[in-house]
């Protein structure tokens, strides 16, 4: 691919926008944004430049009761081992990761497999904003305004066959661009998946952004899964493959340590992680000296998803 992507040395200096002009443009865009905001009479001061996704459809599935976690916290406290195991490593190390161009391979038990440019994957759908609670298996949580499309709508286009019982996702494997993969903290590439009915549930989202903008690299750019009733690690990031399979989908953490991380990994205050309780959670952004929140069954989405697990012993199939 080196003939397409130019190395810095290949770019003529005449092609590079002068920093001054670049700054002026940004400044102009900012002022335009401010003027527009003022013209609309919107109360809050927004210094934001034109956002990638300005007119998003609202969703009835968005939470209205929880306070949003700040953009700063959402983008500076991440578990994304592809960029390092520390919580601040992804924000530090993912800056140079360029998620464009991006293509996703769809394969396995479906009638319409193929390679898709990210843009083509998305453009047929209406992007929505979904404000979801996000609960990490480690015991902390956030409230994040995602931008995305229902996974079910996307999946229907690939026409999965009757053999497709699960759908499996795979993260990009590229140790050059994802330096965390140079160390074998996990068996790369990261994989995870859902049962077909979980994937088709209206809550399940393919996210391409947050806070009205494109996904920051450290949050799984350019496309990631969001399954709000499951622990965070099921929300696989930087997806390059979608595979329809007959047998239970693979799941990296489940394979590494099945005693601690079940395939389903539904948020469940009744089933402890062997090393810590899951009854409570620390809501990021709230005073650290205050008590934690009570964790809700299915992260508070029981009305929408409890039926999926009828008759299952969730203590065994955690």
């Amino acid at each position: 691919m080196s003939f397409i992507i130019k190395k810095p040395s290949d770019i003529k200096s005449s092609e590079i926008t002068d920093q001054k002009i670049y700054d002026q443009r940004r400044d102009f865009i900012k002022k335009m944004g401010l003027a527009a905001t003022a013209a609309m009479g919107v109360g809050h001061l927004s210094l934001a430049e034109a956002k990638a996704y300005p007119n998003l459809a609202k969703s009835k599935f968005s939470t209205t009761t929880d306070k949003l976690t700040s953009l700063k916290d959402v983008t500076s406290y991440n578990n994304f081992y592809e960029f390092g195991t520390g919580k601040s490593d992804p924000a530090k190390n993912a800056g140079d990761f360029n998620p464009k161009p991006w293509s996703v391979r769809v394969e396995g038990e479906c009638e319409k497999p193929g390679d898709f440019h990210l843009e083509d994957l998305i453009k047929l759908h209406t992007l929505e904003e979904r404000i979801y609670r996000f609960r990490c298996v480690e015991g902390w949580s956030m409230v994040i305004p995602w931008v995305g499309v229902p996974l079910a709508d996307m999946i229907k286009r690939f026409k999965p066959t009757s053999k497709a019982k699960f759908v499996e996702f795979e993260t990009l494997y590229d140790p050059e661009r994802m330096p965390g993969q140079q160390i074998k903290t996990l068996p790369w590439p990261y994989v995870d998946g859902l049962r077909m009915d979980e994937a088709m549930n209206p809550l399940t989202l393919m996210a391409v952004g947050l806070y009205g903008d494109e996904l920051p690299n450290q949050n799984g750019a350019p496309i990631r899964l969001v399954v709000p009733w499951k622990y965070g690690f099921k929300n696989i990031k930087s997806i390059v493959k979608i595979r329809f399979v007959e047998n239970q989908a693979r799941s990296t953490w489940h394979e590494v340590n099945d005693r601690e991380y079940g395939f389903y990994s539904n948020v469940n205050p009744e089933v402890d992680h062997p090393r810590w309780s899951q009854k409570t959670e620390r809501r990021i952004g709230e005073p650290f000296w205050a008590p934690k929140h009570k964790t809700l069954m299915f992260n508070g989405y029981a009305d929408q998803v409890a039926d999926l697990y009828k008759g299952m012993d969730l203590k065994k199939l955690y």
Partner: protein, 209 residues
Amino acid sequence: MNTATRFSVLMPSMNINLFVKPIFFLLCLIPIFLVVWNGFNNNLGANPAEAILDTMGNWGIYFLLITLSVTPVRKLTGWGGVIRLRRMFGLFAFFYVCLHLLSYIWFDQYFDWNEIVKDIIKRPFITLGFLTFLLLMPLVITSTNKMMLRLKKSWKKLHWMIYPISIMGVVHFFLMTRADFRHPFLIAGILSLLLGYRLYFYFLRKKRS
């Protein structure tokens, strides 16, 4: 230990007590100072509770290792005075372990004693951490000069406990790690060196006798 060396250990030396000790005392306070400072300046990241808990735990272990380094440093450098800093290092280990435990009780469990007891019984790494804390207590209580003189030979026997205590602390660190074991391995490596140093001399002495 003959009378002369014991005398030199207990004898306050003007130099060390007046200058070196206070300087090291202040240095030992830097970790807690930084946590408080960063806490007030909103600089502990998105999850300050976790940051405080981890930092205090780390420094508890670091100070155990520093305490264990005193004897090798003394023997390798010939600076006998360093021995008079050992008690302070050991007490600082306990200080940071206490803050680590307090962070757990406060931020993690919010003083839910019922849950805390269940946690200690149920989870091996919590059990081990709590045991480590309990075993440090008698060492702290008997750390004074008076106790040293009163307990005589058994003082040394009692304070030999610092070896198993350090191993337990490091195992506690291993057991709570999720996937990236580089940090606990580094700590375990340093501890092995410090314990290996003792074992080497122990076997050397055994051979000679």
